[in-house]
């Protein structure tokens, strides 16, 4: 079977990444913003693995694995922060937080 060309995977990765970016910038719910960030991580993973297959180099896959790990750590800490900040509020809205103004 003919292989799927590399840059199709990369285009897909770019599209998924941009979806994540726009999601992050347009949503106000912090949880949803974090999920958009997860989308961006995965888009990057896809690109790494595609390159790994293309150049027959395991480094891409290993790095993707590390990305998963770091994303997990980041998600944990980010969620903890979100919980701390929004625990007693009625609406979880990122635009309510502007203490660092100025």
């Amino acid at each position: 079977m003919p292989q799927v060309p590399l840059n199709l995977y990369l285009e897909l990765s770019a599209v998924l990444f941009i979806i994540g970016v726009i999601g992050f910038l347009l949503r106000r719910n912090p949880i949803t913003m974090l999920m958009a960030i997860e989308l961006m991580w995965n888009a990057g993973n896809l690109a790494f693995i595609a390159f790994a297959r293309n150049f027959i180099d395991m480094s891409g896959q290993v790095f993707a694995f590390l990305v998963i790990t770091v994303a997990a750590a980041e998600a944990a800490i980010a969620l903890a922060i979100v919980v701390m900040v929004f625990r007693r509020r009625e609406n979880a809205d990122v635009d309510d937080i502007s203490v660092m103004r100025g």
Partner: protein, 643 residues
């Protein structure tokens, strides 16, 4: 043994410094008597070491002294390009040893006296720290072997004087007096500095050895200028005309301060300076002439003022000014040994006078006006007799110390072919007898006690013993120079051996001595007549010579003149600047800077909204731009090209 004392010379300098530092840092944590003890101990140790060093150095021949006199404590302190090397060496030749003995010896006596005198003062510990500091800086001044360290000591004694005059800092008068003294002293500092610049310009060094050794290379006019600028320093420090106004005001300081600093030691620094720099003055006759004239005129000037003062300490201050005039006169005519001799005797009897006056002031609870005294001879016998000894000494009555030293000075003036200066000196001698005994009569003898306070006679030994010692020294101190037996000149011969005039004081003119004695006695007699026997004579004089009296009472209006000449313009200018300038122009500048900064900050403030999503958008926009630049601008990846 000799090596020990020679090696211990730096300690002479260090002990007072360590004493001051110890009292300053640890004094508050101990009982106040500990500070007094340390203060006296440090000076005492320095005195012992000085005596030891003197016993080692003085018997040596001049050639040997030249080898040993320069301490082995050498350090390169500064190397200022291109070729000025300043080292820190201590010089202990007979001249500096004489000053060191007086500074530490009389200083020790005054420190002990202060233990009793200052006992009721709340800043007791600080006083001893300051006094030790003073002794340190004064020793540094006389032990330096180059002009720079002399200047350091010079400034240091000025500082110590400022601290001690203004010791009672809650009295505004004292603070003003301290400031006045400091300002005038600094004027003198500038003079010495300029002299040092000239020395460096001509000889390339400021060390005594180099400057004095190459005096012949410096032209006479340059030498004259150096001598004049050094004289400015001496005039400021020794309170001679025209920078003399600070000394009477300096009496606002405690009596031990007046005794030590403004009688025995600091004010004689000018005399030391000129005596030390005698090679310069020997070869610059115009400068030496100026020195002598200033000294002679000041001596008479101060004596006239002293005749009408009513504050005990002021009279003594003017008499100090007058006697230092004698010393300056002596070194001005080239009689350096005579000037040093008079310095020594004056230290004895002037410190004595101040200290016994202090006993009187203490007994009267602080009263210093002699119009409110009288008849104290019976109630304060110890003070009376010691004060009398001092007065007799200063009047120059045989066989007290002042007789010999004043004779030596006047003798030298006569032999130096300065007839007018001789006349000044003689008249001053008569006036000295007059005003000093006027002081004795009004304070101790005339009639009944006129004052309001109760008289508390004290017998504290810390105060009486030093005074008694000084009384004895005021009697026998002059016997170091007797006809055909001049020990002092022999001692000082290594320093002054190269002076232009022979320095021996053994040849007294009998007629001159007798004449001076008679004139002094005449002055005393006149005072007795006017104040003791027929007091109405004095009162009549005061009424008839009203204008002259006012002139003298106000010290020839020097203070007034200086105020209008110097103080008032500066103050008026400063006030004008403040009113016209500062409020509008200068004070508004910080506000302007504030607003400008705020404006620029507000421009960039708009980005810091605090909203997370805005920050995210900023990221993305920036990343996009960078991506664009990286892909298409920097690396020229054309769209649509084949790889």
């Amino acid at each position: 043994m000799a090596d020990f004392f020679l090696g211990a010379v730096p300690l002479i300098l260090l002990f007072p410094l360590i004493g001051a530092a110890t009292i300053a840092f640890f004094g508050p944590y101990a009982h106040r008597s500990a500070s007094a003890f340390i203060g006296c101990l440090s000076i005492g140790l320095s005195f012992v070491l000085t005596v030891g060093a003197a016993l080692v150095i003085l018997p040596l021949s001049p050639a040997q002294q030249a080898i040993y006199a320069h301490s082995n404590f050498v350090g390169y302190w500064a190397h200022l390009p291109p070729d000025l090397i300043i080292s820190f060496r201590l010089l202990i030749d007979p001249l500096s040893l004489l000053w060191m003995l007086i500074i530490t010896g009389v200083g020790l006596l005054i420190h002990v006296y202060s233990v009793g005198y200052m006992a009721s003062d709340k800043n007791y510990r600080t006083f001893f720290a300051y006094m030790n500091l003073f002794v340190f800086t004064m020793l540094l001044l006389v032990m330096a072997d180059n002009f720079l360290w002399l200047l350091v000591g010079w400034g240091g004694v000025g500082l110590a004087s400022y601290l001690l005059i203004g010791f009672n800092y809650d009295r505004p008068v004292a603070v003003l007096a301290a400031r006045k003294a400091l300002i005038m002293n600094v004027i003198g500092d500038v003079g010495i500095m300029i002299a040092m610049f000239l020395m460096y310009a001509h000889v390339g060094s400021v060390a005594y050895q180099n400057v004095f050794g190459h005096v012949s290379q410096i032209g006479t006019s340059a030498l004259t200028w150096i001598g004049v600028w050094l004289l400015l320093g001496a005039v400021a420090k020794s309170a001679q005309l025209p920078l003399q106004t600070w000394l009477p005001d300096a009496m606002e300081g405690p009596t031990p301060v007046s005794a030590l600093i403004h009688a025995a030691t600091m004010v004689t620094a000018g005399v030391y300076l000129i005596a030390r720099a005698h090679p310069i003055y020997d070869n610059a006759p115009a400068a030496a002439e100026l020195v002598a004239v200033i000294g002679g005129v000041t001596a008479l000037f101060a004596a006239t003022i002293g005749c009408v003062q009513y504050d005990i300490k002021r009279v003594l201050a003017y008499s100090t000014m007058s006697q230092i005039g004698y010393m300056i006169l002596a070194v001005g005519v080239g009689a350096y040994a005579a000037g040093a001799f008079h310095f020594m005797t004056h230290a004895f009897f002037k410190a004595l006078l101040f200290m016994s006056a202090g006993i009187v002031i203490h007994a009267l609870g602080g009263e210093q006006d002699i119009r409110k005294m009288g008849g104290l001879a019976a109630r304060l016998p110890f003070a009376y007799w010691t004060f009398l000894v001092g007065t007799v000494a200063i009047a120059g009555i045989f066989p007290f110390a002042g007789f010999f030293s004043k004779d030596a000075v006047v003798d030298a003036v006569l032999n130096s072919h300065h007839p007018w200066l001789f006349v000044l000196a003689v008249i001053t001698a008569g006036l000295t007898g007059f005003y000093m005994f006027r002081l004795v009569f009004l304070t101790f003898l005339t009639g009944a006690y006129r004052g309001d306070h109760e008289v508390h006679a004290q017998t504290e030994r810390t105060m009486t013993v030093p005074v008694a010692i000084l009384a004895v020294l005021s009697l026998i101190g002059g016997w170091i120079v007797l006809p055909h037996h001049d020990e002092l000149s022999v001692m000082l011969s290594s320093t002054f051996g190269d002076a232009r005039l022979p320095q021996s004081m053994a040849e007294f003119s009998g007629a001159l001595s007798l004449g001076l004695l008679l004139i002094a006695v005449a002055g005393i007699a006149f005072a007795w007549i006017a104040y003791q026997w027929r007091p109405q004579i004095a009162a009549a004089f005061h009424r008839s010579l009203g204008g002259l009296h006012a002139l003298l009472s106000n010290a020839y209006y020097f203070d007034t003149i200086y105020h209008w000449l110097f103080e008032w313009p500066v103050l008026a200018f400063a006030q004008w600047l403040r009113d016209a300038f500062e409020v509008d122009a200068i004070d508004s500048l910080p506000a302007l800077a504030l607003r400008a900064g705020g404006y620029f900050a507000s421009l960039s403030n708009r980005w810091e909204t605090g909203y997370l999503r805005r920050y995210g958008l900023t990221f993305v926009v920036g990343a996009v731009l960078l991506l664009f630049i990286y892909l298409f601008v920097a690396h020229g990846a054309a769209v649509g090209a084949a790889p």
